[in-house]
Symmetry: C2
Subunit: 289 residues, 2 copies
């Protein structure tokens, strides 16, 4: 395994995550090849200086790569891994940036022996998508979870770590199942919470359209994630169903407690609960992130 500066990196998928990663890696490795399905995507990536060169041909794009990063939605990653692995040089690092890790880890575990798989998940989503939204600064100071397999060599993990640090992110190593359980709470739940909020507003709008006039910054921020890319989110939900359902249950339990206290007008208990949650919320982001 070569040091990053001498490595040829291929990025498969040049959307928000892949395009941003490619752009951030350029100049920090030997070269960055972008692989996309559409030539227009490659042209935009090239004109914005995100890649050294681009191709729509997976074979040509991956032949010389020392590291490959697959940056497409989770189930597209699952479909691509088997197709990509046979095309890679011995010891090539095969990373992904998928938002759930357990299913990907299971599939990585049975890839041909000559590749070095390494799960990855950068925590820097946005509701915008596509190469036109790509921004080489996207990963700066963000957390980038790595989920190495038992078969991942320390050299491959080291190259993966160097790649993460080169784009300005911080590495956190997690077990794939633990990652998925944590992210169900930290990311997949907030998405569903936001969607249900928009759905409730929509129902109200059916009887009183003024609801959208009075929806201000509070509603806007709380519902922001409902604008997330649906294909990406559906892949996440479908590959993490068990953990998502468990955290939805826990969440509904919280709402039930609050509804009960409001119904009973139990002010003292409600005040204690809300005050503790306020302290907790303030404590999480003492330092703005």
């Amino acid at each position: 395994v070569k040091p990053l500066i001498d490595a040829r990196v291929a990025v498969v998928g040049l959307g928000l995550m892949g395009g941003s990663l490619a752009g951030a890696l350029r100049g920090r490795c030997r070269d960055v090849v972008g692989v996309a399905r559409r030539t227009t995507t490659l042209e935009i990536a090239q004109s914005r200086g995100l890649i050294d060169r681009g191709t729509t041909d997976l074979i040509a794009g991956l032949a010389a790569a020392d590291a490959v990063v697959v940056a497409v939605p989770v189930r597209a990653i699952l479909r691509l891994l088997d197709q990509i692995a046979p095309l890679l040089q011995p010891d090539c690092l095969l990373m992904d940036v998928g938002s759930t890790k357990a299913e990907i880890a299971r599939q990585m575990a049975v890839l041909p022996d000559h590749v070095q798989p390494l799960g990855g998940h950068p925590l820097c989503g946005r509701e915008v998508s596509g190469v036109t939204a790509a921004d080489p600064g996207l990963y700066k100071e963000k957390l980038f979870v790595l989920t190495p397999l038992s078969r991942t060599s320390s050299a491959a993990l080291q190259l993966g770590t160097a790649l993460v640090e080169a784009v300005g992110a911080r590495v956190m190593v997690l077990d794939p199942e633990r990652h998925d359980r944590l992210l169900a709470v930290a990311s997949h739940l907030p998405y569903l919470v936001a969607c249900a909020l928009v759905g409730t507003g929509q129902s109200e709008a059916a009887s009183d359209a003024a609801i959208w006039d009075v929806a201000a910054s509070g509603f806007r921020d709380t519902s922001r994630l409902a604008a997330s890319d649906v294909t990406m989110m559906l892949d996440i939900l479908m590959t993490n169903r068990e953990a998502v359902l468990a955290t939805l249950d826990a969440y509904r339990g919280q709402l039930d407690v609050m509804a009960g206290l409001i119904r009973d007008a139990d002010e003292d208990a409600l005040r204690s609960m809300l005050a503790a949650l306020r302290e907790q919320r303030k404590e999480i982001w003492l330092h703005p992130c």
Copy 2:
């Protein structure tokens, strides 16, 4: 009723809302008197140029007022109205900026005949509070709901409207009950949604503290409202219980549908639902607010 430029305005309560309102009104009326419980609050308001003069004495502060704006939490408004009304000149405009309007309207309806009551609710909350957070630009381009009573004279409504427009806000006239029903969905629900999210994170943290490491911008924005002032929110919830409970039920219904589709792995239905919600969310804020 005098035109605003000749009116003496008293603002009772110099927190985020009152301090900002006072500061925005200064120079657009004859003078702005701030009334607060603590002299330190008055000193800060004065040093920041938010008021022309300040007093802790309600009687002295209100004696010459042509318009009074009560800017404290809802139940403090309910306690103050009866105390303030007898101190006012004939035809004095008595406004409030409380976040729920039905209970306040009921109490305004039975105030002494010589005052001109007018409910108000500016939609520009923040999670920060206190005079140190006051900002005369707070109301700029925001919606300011007015809930006139049948007893409110058109001259009083006109002065209230002038006051709202002087601070840079747009007037929307609503019936108090309708206001409360709409705001239950648009504002009180998002708060509870955010609180329940923090509560779910806290439960998870009890078994895995790494949850706060992986909580990124999605969790942060969706949970932002949980940092709101508890006294203010408790007053809102307690004076709008029926509408809040109804919207919580509707919200839980939305979550139940989503949980069911995830449990059944009914991808087609889930995709349709999430795609429709995404379009709805994007449509609400075609123009950033």
